[in-house]
Subunit: 270 residues, 2 copies
């Protein structure tokens, strides 16, 4: 059997009892570590699970899945993913490839930022399409996510913005060499995301301004979780500490209960 | 400390290790049992947690929260909810009331249908606003959710339809009596939801027709999970078995990977 097990928001104890039992009985357990960040570190997971994990980077998951599937027809193999197994397209693809090979599959669900974001008090069913904000470079500054934020707002919906994660990205120079070298990992902060949004609204003034209320979330589900509610301009200067961060652009009209809940994270009266 | 602990999709082993530790050390543990259904039954939870649970119905949660909070300033009390703690407005409200009383609160996240729905292969970030489909009566046939489905579709987004649950609803006749009597519990099926949708489209023909592709999900995350992909008309005659059911109206344009994944749940070539 091939298992994809969601390990939740990042603390070792966020694993479900069902998931932990599977981890303990598998012959090999891979840890997928490029679509999210493991804030607690691989070692603390290994200590808690009482077993070794094999780190699986993008290359292994996308190009060497045969290695992962080896023997899974007759014995149990698992891939652990931060959040829920269906949070990233990559994992859906992995399931399909296992099924093509006739390997039985099972999924163990868990919390992900896609539902845990509601901890800020914004109601989950009022979220529209989720967007990703990528790191800009000198020559590559995509802003199509901004249109989606505007559309959600026009429909009275909140937007969850997932912020870019760059882990094990080969350096440009090493792409032509035999030995790959990797850039240091980068995790976009709510401040960086807000700065990019500010650059966009300078060129496209309108619905969203420097004074628009935004919600920054850091380390959701952890003891050090931090939520800040302030204007976009203020968020561009606010430090929410270590990753992962997410940013929410709320709808213009909020439910009274949403305002009451958000208030506890804001310095000003909402 | 006051805890709200998500118990996930319904199997006793869906609890996280963190959640289980909290349940074991609390002086009182309530089980909220009216915003969702506990498919496994209270007893099997009590057996697995090795402790008694106090059933909390709507009246207790909404009107007698003081009883729940009693002593939580100095000892640990938990409310267990199916799915994630922030899945229903009721729980957010409960947190606010605890905080007003100066009781420290902690949340333990878990999977909910709001993220686990992606197990059908439709990408989670392409879902728009979530809607609820209520049971119609002779005189009360709201259809405002249909507008939202249409709006999501216009924007190229999927719609998750949560289907009505009626648990511990007082009978009309007993409302005037001292002793309340309750209607038998009802859980809307994908067939019933599709029949109501068919009635709406007969009056409002257009974007959505009898031939529109829909996705029915039953008992997500359980061993008996069932997913069916077919037309709305076919779904209105399809029996997916025991509750809970959810219905998804996908966007008109699907990603190739979404089609490939959905195919395994469809009798016809998509």
């Amino acid at each position: 059997m091939f298992f994809i097990v969601g390990i939740g928001l990042g603390d070792p104890k966020d694993i479900t009892v069902k998931g932990l039992e599977i981890i303990k009985r598998c012959v090999r357990v891979y840890l997928e570590a490029y679509t999210s960040i493991l804030s607690c570190g691989q070692e603390s997971l290994e200590d808690f699970y009482e077993r070794k994990l094999i780190l699986a980077d993008r290359e292994m998951i996308e190009q060497h899945s045969d290695e992962i599937f080896a023997g899974a027809e007759t014995s149990d193999v698992a891939v652990l993913v931060v959040g829920d197994p269906f949070g990233a397209t990559t994992h859906t693809d992995l399931m399909l490839r296992a099924k093509e090979k006739g390997i039985p599959c099972q999924v163990v669900h868990n919390a992900s930022i896609m539902n845990a974001v509601a901890c800020c008090g914004l109601q989950l069913y009022s979220f529209g399409e989720t967007v990703s904000i990528p790191y800009w470079t000198e020559s590559w500054r995509p802003d199509s996510f901004f249109e989606k934020i505007l559309k959600n707002r026009q429909m009275g919906l909140h937007t969850l913005c997932l912020l870019d994660i760059r882990v094990r990205e080969p350096t440009l120079e090493s792409l032509t060499r035999r030995k790959r070298e990797y850039e240091p990992p980068r995790f976009m902060s709510t401040a960086e995301a807000s700065q990019q949004l500010m650059e966009i609204i300078r060129k496209q003034p309108g619905e969203i301004t420097e004074e628009t209320l935004v919600v920054g979330l850091a380390r959701v589900g952890h003891d050090t979780q931090k939520i800040v509610v302030c204007t976009l301009k203020e968020m561009s200067e606010e430090d929410l500490g270590s990753p992962l961060h997410s940013l929410v652009i709320p709808a213009r009209e909020l439910h009274p209960l949403e305002i009451e809940y958000l208030q506890q994270f804001s310095k000003k009266k909402l």
